[in-house]
């Protein structure tokens, strides 16, 4: 692949001082960068680093709070996606923007497919056109009239990419374009032909090998800031990974005083467990252990958690609790086995909207506060207060509606609820996401204390630092399988990141 030296050219797109915040969260801070015609610029960063916010700003979905963007020397402030497209900025989204109930042809030409004199969409004409377009873009063996919902995910992603390229953009944004595509050469070939036309491409990915393959230059974001903008030649993989993972400031972690009980049977163990989205997973979680799980987005971690929480049936292999085989048919049976999930989506899966914080804590164990099915308020209050004190949740938050609480306090509520049920094993799915620094500290301490007192936890986090500092051991998932096991002494953020990105590194003690 020809990598063009473009530094002598004038930039086609130039962003200066772009800011964007959502509520209290800063998504992008003072971001400046340029894109040159005929180049592929890699945009790297961990989950939540601000990559998708940048994509949304450039494609007109989100308006930045401050900063200026110029496109070919002219001010560029798209109001919506159509606006961006007419200015020549086209995007293939990661969350594919195709409509499953419409045909490929209709999808390619939305929102304004060609119509005839009386305003009817000329189905035959657009299907013929689609046929040609698909051929030109080397997508074969699929009829333009097929509904997108009937296509495999990989094909859908191809259609999404073809659609973005179709409009002959000056600037093309590709957001994780190979997430579902096995044949990456297909994409690389198309990119090459666009570059020849002088298109500038911003290539968002977390796969460094793709960036190395395609780009001369890459930009790395972390916590909404640009931490690197450099030619790739001068950087080693390690340097880039450590830029991406970077040690975040002011965070401290509780002392790791592990109390792992080697002699007891494992609290939770999976043996060659398979299910939809989980391939042949084997691990043992011992009493008193915090077992980390590192993975980039969509590598099977949610499925694994859902299998362990009884939400997804096991297809093969077995799961053991305390040395005995169990069948986890439902979250209820998982609870009965002492396994409790702290779910990924706090807002939709975690809290009961419109109930008080106290009710949110006591719901699963409310029977303990009831006599003849009537709830005894004093008993409930005692129970809730006991739970709240374990997670350092101020009791003044207990009686208002949970909607009024910050994300951090909501998360404490969920933890309090989980602890009240006296679990043997907690499944923590990114419990510190969208939580302020102070609450994070408390969450770490709560988990540590839980483990010290004989509990065990599986802890998935998108923040590698947390995994490094909190866990006794860390598994890495890639493409639905566990690819590595890293012992505590060897845990570093960039080792985890490179393993999670699918790099095969010979770790001492790899499982």
């Amino acid at each position: 692949m020809v990598k063009r030296d473009v530094s002598s050219l004038t930039p086609i797109l130039q962003a200066t001082g772009v800011h964007k915040r959502y509520g209290a969260t800063i998504a992008l801070e003072d971001l400046s960068f340029s894109l040159y015609p005929g180049e592929v610029c890699g945009l790297l960063g961990e989950n939540g680093a601000g990559k998708s916010t940048l994509v949304k700003i450039l494609s007109g979905i989100v308006v930045p709070d401050a900063g200026e963007i110029a496109l070919e020397g002219q001010a560029y402030q798209p109001h919506n996606i159509v606006d961006a497209r007419t200015r020549g900025v086209s995007t293939a989204f990661q969350e594919l923007s195709l409509i499953p109930t419409l045909s490929i042809a209709a999808n390619l030409f939305l929102p304004k497919p060609k119509v005839n004199a009386i305003g009817l969409v000329t189905i035959r004409a657009i299907e013929e056109l689609t046929e040609t377009i698909l051929k030109q873009h080397a997508v074969f063996d699929v009829s333009p009239s097929t509904l997108v919902g009937d296509l495999s995910l990989g094909l859908r992603q191809r259609i999404e990419i073809v659609r973005a390229m179709l409009r002959e953009p000056r600037v093309l944004l590709l957001d994780e374009p190979t997430a579902a595509i096995a044949d990456r050469e297909w994409l690389f070939g198309l990119i090459e032909s666009l570059l020849a036309r002088g298109t500038a491409i911003l290539y968002i990915t977390h796969r460094l090998d793709e960036v190395r393959r395609l780009c001369k230059r890459c930009v790395v974001l972390r916590n909404g800031r640009k931490v690197l903008d450099a030619a790739l030649e001068d950087m080693t993989d390690d340097q880039i990974f450590s830029k991406m993972a970077g040690r975040s400031v002011v965070e401290t972690y509780p002392i790791r005083e592990s109390n792992i009980d080697e002699s007891a049977p494992p609290v939770l163990a999976a043996h060659k467990a398979s299910a939809a989205g989980v391939n042949d997973v084997t691990f043992r979680l011992r009493r008193g252990e915090i077992l980390g799980l590192a993975a980039l987005e969509g590598q099977g971690q949610s499925s694994l958690f859902r299998v362990l929480a009884g939400l997804v049936p096991l297809k093969g292999g077995s799961i053991e609790v305390n040395g005995g085989p169990v069948r986890l048919r439902s979250p209820r049976s998982a609870r009965a086995a002492g396994i409790i999930l702290v779910p990924e989506e706090r807002k939709t899966e975690g809290i009961f909207n419109d109930l008080s914080t106290a009710a949110n804590i006591s719901i699963p164990v409310i029977n303990q506060a009831a006599r003849f099915n009537f709830i005894r308020n004093r008993k409930e209050r005692q129970m809730v207060e006991r739970g709240a004190s374990r997670v350092d949740l101020n009791s003044r938050y207990l009686w208002p509606n949970i909607n009024a609480l910050s994300g951090g306090n909501q998360q404490k509520t969920i933890l309090a609820r989980s602890l009240l049920a006296n679990p043997k094993c907690l499944l923590l799915f990114d419990p510190t996401r969208g939580v302020d620094v102070g609450t994070k500290q408390i969450i770490y301490q709560v988990i540590r204390k839980f483990a010290r007192e004989g509990g065990a936890a599986v802890f998935y986090s998108t923040e590698l630092d947390e995994l490094v500092h909190l866990c006794d051991r860390c598994l890495v998932m890639y493409r639905n399988a566990i690819v590595a096991e890293v012992r505590q002494e060897e845990l570093t953020p960039h080792l985890l990141l490179s393993l999670a990105a699918g790099h095969k590194i010979d770790v001492h003690g790899t499982a």
Binding site: N80, P100, K112
Partner: protein, 338 residues
């Protein structure tokens, strides 16, 4: 994220299959009906049946558009009531009463529809809640216009619209044919395609550049016009105004849409199914009457048939559902796809 959950939980039932089932059901019921009531297959019988069907058919056609766009609308009965009392009060007094009144009721429907659409699309209110409001308001307005059953519908409307043309084609049948034809054309327009897109996935539609709000506004407006027209045709049949005439009508409108195979989740189905659904509900009532089932049993059968129709219409989806893992989410939509 919400978007992808929705996508995943949506069944893969083919709307065609369910409206085909509805059509078969209709034919079966019609045959049984005509065996029990031989007059059913005379021109008069067919005209009568079509006259009885058309109000429900047109109202449910309007509702179908709304449901395709993944919204709900209860205002149909309110608009029908207003439309009915308007026809009963002004059609005999207005110059060019037939056309004038028609335009008037369509305008009223349009206004109510635009109001609904504005509340839902631009203010982001829940469609069920605010169309409940507009429905009650319209019923109130109908009472203000005509506080008791009465009034008079112009003879031309009453006679011509319920009769036949050239002595062989029922006018109601003609109107239904026009509705179906209009739908077949409409669903090939940009707006028609946009309705399906918006109903399937509003977020993705927005990302493709579809004007989601504008689409919803138009959908509500069109549905409003359909309700106005339904009220007009209702007046042609009753020949009088009654502010409460449509009170029992609401659930039948939804039933017709559901029987016709339009998914209440949006994005799947179509007007033809709903028209057939309206036909099924009507022919069923006639059938039960013909075989001598007492009036107060009809609801039991209506409900039963509706459940059966929906069950069969979704049979394929129900069967596939059990083979899928629950709660599939994009997080792991994974790499095994290829």
């Amino acid at each position: 994220m919400v978007m992808s959950m929705k996508q995943a939980s949506r069944e893969k039932g083919r709307p065609l299959a369910s409206s085909l089932f509805a059509a078969i059901l209709y034919v079966v019921m019609f045959v049984i009906y005509s065996i029990n009531a031989p007059s059913a297959i005379t021109l008069g019988g067919i005209t009568d049946l079509l006259n009885n069907t058309i109000v429900l058919a047109i109202a449910s056609a309007g509702l179908t558009l709304i449901i395709l766009a993944a919204e709900l609308d209860l205002s149909s009965v309110g608009v029908i009531a207003v439309s009915n009392v308007l026809v009963a009060t002004v059609s005999t007094k207005m110059p060019a009463g037939t056309i004038g009144t028609l335009l008037l009721v369509c305008l009223v429907g349009l206004l109510v529809g635009l109001t609904n659409g504005w509340l839902v699309a631009f203010l982001g209110l829940q469609s069920l809640a605010c169309t409940l409001g507009t429905m009650i308001m319209c019923q109130g307005i109908a009472l203000v216009i005509l506080d008791a059953p009465g009034g008079e519908v112009a003879a031309f409307i009453m006679n011509r619209l319920t009769d036949t043309v050239f002595g062989m084609i029922p006018v109601a049948g003609l109107i239904l044919a026009v509705v179906v034809l209009a739908w077949l054309l409409f669903r090939r327009t940009r707006l028609g395609i946009a309705i399906y897109a918006v109903g399937t996935d509003a977020v993705a539609s927005h990302l493709t550049g579809i004007d989601v709000k504008g689409t919803k506004l138009r959908v509500f407006a069109l549905a409003g016009v359909a309700y106005g027209l339904a009220g007009y045709l209702l007046s042609a049949q009753t020949g009088t105004g009654d502010p409460r005439v449509s009170n029992s009508f609401l659930l039948y409108v939804f039933a017709a849409v559901a029987i016709g195979g339009t998914s209440l989740g949006g994005g799947r189905g179509g007007v033809i199914g709903s028209v057939i659904g309206a036909g099924i509900l009507t022919v069923m009532q006639k059938l039960l009457f013909a075989v001598g089932v007492a009036d107060f049993y009809t609801n039991i059968f209506s409900g039963l048939i509706m459940v059966v129709a929906i069950l069969f219409g979704n049979l394929s989806a129900i069967l596939t559902l059990h083979q899928r893992m629950p709660l599939t989410r994009h997080g792991d939509r994974g790499y095994s796809a290829q």
